[in-house]
Symmetry: C2
DNA sequence: GTTTTTTTGATTTACGTACATCAGATTTGG
DNA sequence: CCAAATCTGATGTACGTAAATCAAAAAAAC
């Protein structure tokens, strides 16, 4: 049987009230007494029963998710997963609220974050916009004791406690190697379709992609990036136009807006053997993978990201350890054979 | 605030004791009264506070893991993950015990399972040996009310509640497509190294591999399977011998014992451009992936499998729902760029 | 040495549920 | 209609912790 507060009290030769004062860092305990209790805690290997404590406290975990107001399927999926988490709230004692901020608008994000410091949530998950002012508020909030995790897009160099998202440089490198290996000895040009080079994750994917391509597949030349702004229409136009170049033998789509890409491919490239790698598994990319329009899909599992963010925030709020291996968000690689 | 038993009692116009009798299916409640209470439960949307209930019951979850006594790195890894889980036991209220049975010995497995029905664990996780007698005991135990999940290797056609492992047919198909695409237009022969065709997961991987190969990559011919019994020495011998065949341009290693494979490759194939796909990420395969001896690794995350099995067993024991998407064990595909 | 302050102990209530006991009410059987 | 059987209510204790109160003891200040 694991030791309880009573056992600690007995072992330390103090009363229950004193143990409670020490455990919950309440004032009114002499230094020596505090030490006695802490020794007993260590020696008996006491760990507070979080379930019982939460019951007694009537604790809930008010969490805030800050998301960009982007209208693409990935963000819709992320929202859906958060709604699922909200449905589980009663069982998980969470109280989740989402706030939408204009995408790529660091000032707006900063304003929201500063507003939050007043309402005292016990944890914040945010899709970070990578800017110095954001980094500054995040660091301030972390110092003030708020658990903060970044979601999907990280804020490197900040003090955020955790990042619930994939390694985008690795994703880009993986895409490059897959494309390079799939194309084998062929020589030709590679088109890259991105959302916007202002977004950190897209920049990182491109960075990883480019470095492996230039180092290891010198026969493949990367064309200037097409910025589709995650907009299907624009993506369609850009890709359709690019396909006029007969040297293109591969495409890497590292952002959203794949609907336009797929349409362009089906219209313009029926007779060509293009190798295409895209990001994010959606109904559209899934169908395209099955009918061979796309050759591989790299994906991050939004559900895992949301659940991981919640687990980490709760653990941080309770001062508990997280299982690192469990919280690592993996890059999924889907071929048509291992679709879920 | 979520409703409590008191609210139900008030709403149904009965006493707390009666609500308790209904909730815990104790006798001594008239049919009409029971219905009143059940209606109130439904209407208020009452869900039992599992944490409080567990506290009151002093509940722990005695779980049993039944593993084959196989001496390969995957099983060692699995064991290590179970030990990690045991370390978390106090916090998770679990009480985990492992039992080793001789590998591929269905009679021994049956004997162990029958022994278990007497000691009443609240859940059983087992690496299944695929045999009719095993299926029969499992079905009996499920009928008797034991939550059972299969781990790593499934028992299809049985009544087990859940399978915590990867889809091995999909894994084989994925390996085939990766190998086929990596080899591109080349023609040649493919060697397959397996552990034993007596193991279901190996059979399934081969099945998936073969079907995609024959359907979609007719220029690649699969040689008769080399059965390495997951033994590095034997694998080394078999592969070294096979590499005498200069037509071999690809290898699929679908079992354990990759140490021998890697050694053989480094000795015999330095001057050849072989494409190699192997299963299970270990220190050895990892190093081989980095130095280009292996081109891709398919992996199942033993930690996730163990944690998933535990979550599912606990949920079943409490009669709760599981988050299906969370419990799906994904097939990891590692290139040298996305190693964890 | 007394007063004031600080520290500690003892005790109680609460959280939401489980479980046991016993008395009282209601239904059923004869 | 009464006895027996069945059902229901009232009540209390427990689980491990939090949090509060008030009294008592110890230490510090005067």
């Amino acid at each position: 049987m694991r030791p309880t507060v009573h056992d600690i009290a007995a072992a330390a030769g103090v009363s229950l009230a004193t143990v409670d004062r020490v455990l919950n860092q309440r004032p009114g305990v002499r230094h020596v007494t505090r030490e006695k209790v802490e020794t007993a805690i260590r020696e008996l290997g006491y760990v507070r029963d979080v379930a019982a404590a939460n019951l007694a406290k009537g604790r809930t975990y008010p969490l805030v998710f800050i998301l960009p107001a982007s209208d693409n399927s990935f963000m819709h999926g992320l929202n859906a997963e958060i709604r699922q988490a909200i449905l589980r709230s009663p069982a998980e004692r969470t109280d989740i609220r989402t706030i939408e901020v204009p995408a790529f608008d660091s000032a707006a994000l900063v304003a929201v974050l500063e507003g939050l410091s007043r309402e005292k949530p016990c944890g914040i998950a945010m899709v970070a916009t990578d800017a110095p002012d954001v980094r500054a508020v995040v660091d301030r909030l972390v110092h003030a004791g708020f658990p903060i995790v970044t979601l999907v897009s990280d804020l490197t160099g900040s003090l955020r406690h955790h990042y619930a998202g994939v390694d985008n440089i690795a994703a880009g490198r993986t895409a490059a190697r897959l494309l390079g290996r799939f194309l084998g000895p062929r020589k030709g040009k590679i088109a890259v379709l991105a959302g916007s080079m202002l977004v950190r994750d897209h920049r990182e994917r491109l960075e990883g992609f480019t470095s492996v391509m230039t180092e290891e597949f010198p026969d493949l030349a990367i064309l200037p990036v097409l910025e589709g702004r995650d907009d299907p229409e624009l993506a369609h136009m850009l890709v359709a136009e690019a396909l006029g170049n007969a040297d293109i033998i591969g495409i890497y789509s590292l952002g959203a807006g794949n609907r336009g890409l797929i349409r362009a491919l089906k219209e313009k490239a029926v007779d060509r053997t293009l190798t295409v790698i895209a990001h994010e598994l959606t109904a559209h990319t899934r169908a395209a993978l099955i009918d061979n329009t796309i050759d591989a899909i790299l994906n991050q599992n939004a559900g895992h990201e949301v659940r991981s963010a919640i687990r980490v925030l709760k653990a941080k709020a309770d001062g508990l350890a997280v299982i690192e291996a469990q919280e690592r968000i993996r890059l999924d690689i889907f071929l048509k054979d291992n679709l879920p």
